[in-house]
Structures are given as C-alpha cells and as structure tokens.
Amino acid sequence: MNALKSLFSARGPRELPVPPGPGHPALDARALSVWLGGRAVLDGVGLRVRTGEVVALVGPNGAGKSTLLAALAGDAAAVSGTVWIDGRPLADWPAPELALRRAVLPQQAALSFPFPVEEVVWMGRAPWAGTVREEEDDTVVAEAMAATGVAGFARRPFDALSGGERARVALARVLAQRAPVLLLDEPTAALDLRHQERVLRICRERARAGDAVVVVLHDLGLAAAYADRIAVLHEGRLAAEGPPREVLTEELVGRVYRQPVDVLAHPRTGTPVVVPRRDPRPGRDLRAVVLDRAVTEGT
C-alpha cells in the first residue's frame, strides 16, 4: 500500500529549509519584466529581501504591485529576469519544496466548499505532511489562530464569515504554513483599524523571528510605521526603494500618486505621516455655526 501510495504521490523525500542567518538574501528578484495584454506591467524591476526584514510594496493603482508579488510568488510568468529563493531560481523548485519556503496570501480569499475555519487553517500545514515538522501542526495552528483572532469562530463555516473575518482566516492559514518567506497581497484591505495594526505587528514579529516579509499596502502610514524598507512602484518600474524616512518625501509621493501631499514627522515616534494636501473647506466658519445655533435655540 505504501509503495502504491508513493507511486501516485508527488511527494518524494524533500529537503527541509535550513534557517539562514539574519541579513541573508531570502528572496532576490533581478531585472523582472512581465507583459500582460501586450503591455509591460513590470519593466526591469529588481528587489532583494533579506531575512528578518519587512518590505512594503506601495504605489498607485495599476503600478504593478500585485503583479510584482505574483512574479515573486511564481504565479506570473516573467518574460525576462529571474527570482531567486533560498539560493535557487524559483522555476527550479518543485511545488512541494517551494511550499516549505514561501507562503502567499492572495488578495481575495475564496473557498469552493464550506469548510469550517479550523480546517481552512489546517490546510496551511499540508506542505509539512510526512516531514518531521508534522509534529508541530497542533501548536502552529493554535498559534496562528490566536495571533489573527479567529479562534473564537473556529468551527463556523468559512462562507458564513464577513469579508474581514475571511481575510483573517486566510492570513492564519498562511501563517500556519511557517514558510521563511511571506508574500502578502493587501492583507489589510478588508480590515478595521485594530486588525490592520494587528496584521502588521504579526509581520514585524515574523521578521524578528527571522522570516522575510513582503507586503503590498495602500496605506503609506502603515508602511512607514512597520516596514524596514519601502519599495515604491510607478508604471511598472521601481521609483524609489529604501527606509521610510528616505523614500516618503513630498516630492516623490506627490509625483508618483499625482496628488500633492504633506509629509509630517509623527510628534511622538518621528515616523513619517503622509497627509493629502487639502484645500480648506469652503463655506461657513465655526463662529457662524455657533451663532446660528444660538439664534435657532432662542438664547
């Protein structure tokens, strides 16, 4: 039976990833170009992500953030350029071994059949089946569910959840995979303020534990507060890349987003805060409102 099983199973003996030291390049994309619909969506983008750091991908709609993430994940075929992961080109890794090395959170979490939340998170452990680290399954799943705050509805069916709850379950599944490279596509999109902060704190914790995290974000404030480095994409190219304080300048953000902004230093932490430059609202000023109310109330 076992012989039969191995005949039909794609799972041969697998090489388990060895955690490298901090600062080691975990993911290295060189001169990536991706074409979609006869147009270069990515044009010669290079990005190196080291273990222990969080890199935020930001940029306006259609700048190529998700495409870059898909190319890093091996989903979008690059016409030129290579992505190296754990010392080997992405294409050279068989799918089961790649799953031990990188986890991907898709932008939208979908499920064809109504599995309970708990089972969805357990799916994240599938790559480790048959390895020595299978023993960790219980604790890892429990940790992932606790970290994302989904343990409270562990037995509810996935399709009965709200959008934000689904997004957190999907994140829990990705965390349970325990891959040293994490690629997250807009993990905060459907979440409220508290859970947005929670997700990025998780990113930081994973980086501290030695993982390399790439996260696509829309909120520049979040990126500035939590990322070690920010990569700004603009029309398929890398417009800037570096620590938040160097990258988030009024000139660069204004040019890339075509929206004038003010960049302030947060009074307590000193991290850059990006605020769109807004005209004062036309209409009555506060004094007029107070006067108005006094008149109507008859005092």
Binding site: A10, A99, L100, A103, V104, L111, S112, M123, A126
Partner: protein, 363 residues
C-alpha cells in the same frame, strides 16, 4: 460537565467534546452505509420473480465458499449465481463508480453542480459505446465497448473542461450551458448511430439510453472490474490535495500541489469511472450529484471521507434503485436510469435554486 458545574466562573466553553463528535460522524456514516449495503445485497439476491429465502441465499454462498451451508436446487442455484449475484455486484461497481466520479468532478471543478451526467460526460461515453455497437466494432473483444466508452468519455471531459473554464475558475452558468451543448451533441451522435444501426443493434442501443442493469452477466462484471477498481483505488490518494484545491488554483499551488498534474490524473480517473459505469449500465444520471451532496451536508466537505464515502453511498443508492426498479412494477421492470432521473431531477432543481441564492444570482 461536572467541571463546568463546579466552576461556573470560568469562561472556558465546554467545547472539547465537539471535535470528537465531528470526527466520529464519518465513522458512524461509514458503518451505517456498509450495513445498508450488506442488507440491500441480501435483499436483492433473494427478492424477485423467483423468491429465494434469506437462509438459502446465505447457505448457497457459504456452500460455494466451502464453509458448510448447502446448495440449492438447479433452478435456484442458477437464478442466484447467474442472474441475481452478477447484478448485485454490477450495481455495487456502477454505483460506487458514479458516486466517486461525482465527488471527484465536483472537487476538480470546485463546483457542487458538476456531475458526469449533468455536464455530458455520461452522454459522451454513451455515444462511444453506442457507436461501437452500431459500427459492429470488436477489436478488443469483451472490452471493446468499455474501451470506446472510455475514449469518448475522456474526450468529452477534456472538451468540457477546456470550454467551461476561464481565468482559472468554472462559473456555474458556463458549466451548465456547456453541459447542455455537450449533451445535445452526444445525443445527435447517438441518433446518427441509431440511424445506421440494424434492428438488433437498435434494441441493444435503446437499453443504453435508458440505463439498466438488466443485462448483468459475469463477463460484463469482468469487463468493468479493472476500470472501476483502478479508479476507486487511485481516487482517495488525492483527497487531501482536493481539499487544498478548494482554496483555488494558485493557493493550492502555493501549498505545494502540482495542480496541472492533479487535474490531469483526476480527469483520467473520472473518465475511467464514468466509462466503466456507462459501458455496462448505460446512462444513469444524478447519482454522482445527489450522493456527494448529501454526504457533504452530513459529514463536512473534507474529501478524505467524501471520496470513499461517495463510492459507498453511490453503491447503496444504486442497489436500492435497482431493487426498486425490479420489484415496484413486477413482473415488468422499470429502467433504472429513468428511476434515478425521476428522483434526481427535482433534487438538482432544488440544488440549482440554492446555489443561485447563496451566490446572489448568476451574474
């Protein structure tokens, strides 16, 4: 229970009992289905125009197995061993194949409405079988019809798959419409073959169109046994990967599933199972739709139980259906395919309405 009563202040919910209950459901269902299967097999062997009491059935089986018991008289022995038992075994094989094929197909398409009959695989396989009869093919002897049904079924699965997918997913409407088109085309081919067939072949072909186990013989059992067993043995090995495929193609790949390979293997298995069923029993629809769906409602969506469970459930449903087909209008016999369609169609209708509601319309 006592712990919660003693410490009402603790907020820990008394939930630990829940997972055990949940995990024991598949075990319980398996036991119930196996018992039902055994009971139906004994009933099917005994009931009919020539009644054989239960004792005699068991006695004859024990006698043949060399475990004591006693043989029956010549007629009884012949009815039991040449008519009833091949039919029982065939019902088991065909039902298991159809149930399992339905569960696999729904997993591969990620769609609870996918079923070999609904999307035209059965009709395609039937067109192959009918063609081989009408053209008098016999290049593989006993296995010719099975082979032709398999080839035609495989071509149909691939066509449906290619036609109904876009952007990595299968929409319900596209799938059902593709099924209509494929069924129409297969129907036209069958009509064409009937036009060219002589009257002896036509009566044989009519049997295919209605779906029946009435022509069960041991050689027929042997003709489908390899296909059905191969398919049923391979299918459960892919259960865990089918669970992951429910997340979508890309997430499944990110979790280490070789999606392309999984899909190719499972499409082959579905064609194999459907062809096995169609080659001996003609087109029997809705078993592959009804059984996995009911099991999913009872025991959850996990394919580790669903795939083998659907095989078991399919066997139970088909054996019960065949028993009813033989006995309800005795001495006449209802075509089994007509019977399953009679009960399956309203269920399909209900499922359609439900799917539409949960998706908030088809658009």
């Amino acid at each position: 229970m006592t712990a919660t009563a003693e410490a009402p202040g603790t907020t820990a919910p008394p939930e630990p009992a829940e997972p055990n209950r949940r995990r024991s459901t598949p075990l319980l269902l398996t036991a119930v289905l196996l018992a039902a299967l055994a009971l139906l097999a004994l009933l099917s062997a005994g009931l009919g125009a020539y009644h054989i009491p239960l004792d005699d059935v068991l006695g004859s089986v024990r006698h043949r197995a060399g475990l004591g018991g006693h043989g029956l008289d010549r007629v009884g022995e012949s009815v039991l061993w040449n008519v009833r038992l091949p039919r029982v075994v065939l019902a088991l094989l065909v039902g298991a194949s159809l149930g399992c094929a339905g569960a696999l197909m729904q997993g591969v398409f990620g769609n609870p409405l996918a079923e070999p009959g609904v999307i035209g695989i059965s009709a395609g396989a039937a067109a192959g079988a009918v063609g081989s009869i009408a053209l008098g093919l016999s290049f593989f002897g006993n296995w010719t019809i099975t082979f032709c049904a398999f080839t035609a079924g495989l071509v149909t699965v691939l066509a449906v798959y290619a036609l109904s997918r876009s952007g990595g997913r299968t929409e319900v409407v596209t799938l059902i419409l593709t099924g209509i088109a494929v069924n129409a085309f297969a129907g036209a081919l069958i009509g064409l073959f009937i036009f060219f067939a002589d009257s002896a072949q036509i009566s044989q072909i009519t049997f295919w169109q209605l779906g029946s186990l009435a022509q069960a013989t041991w050689p027929k059992v042997l003709a489908v046994l390899p296909c059905a067993l191969a398919g049923l043995a391979v299918a459960p090995l892919y259960a865990r990967r089918l669970d992951l495929l429910a997340l979508g193609e890309r997430p499944a790949r990110h979790l280490g599933v070789d999606v392309e390979r999984l899909r190719v293997v499972l499409v082959l298995v579905v064609a194999l199972l459907t062809a096995a069923a169609v080659a001996v029993a003609g087109v029997i629809t809705f078993v592959g739709l009804l059984v996995p769906h009911l099991l999913r409602m009872a025991a959850g969506s996990g394919h580790r139980f669903l795939v083998p469970g659907s095989a078991l459930g399919g066997a139970v449903v088909l054996m019960a259906g065949d028993l009813a087909a033989r006995t309800v209008a005795a001495p006449a016999e209802l075509p089994l395919g007509v019977l399953t369609a009679l009960f399956g169609s309203p269920f399909f209708f209900w499922l359609l309405r439900r799917t539409r509601r949960t998706q908030g319309g088809w658009a």
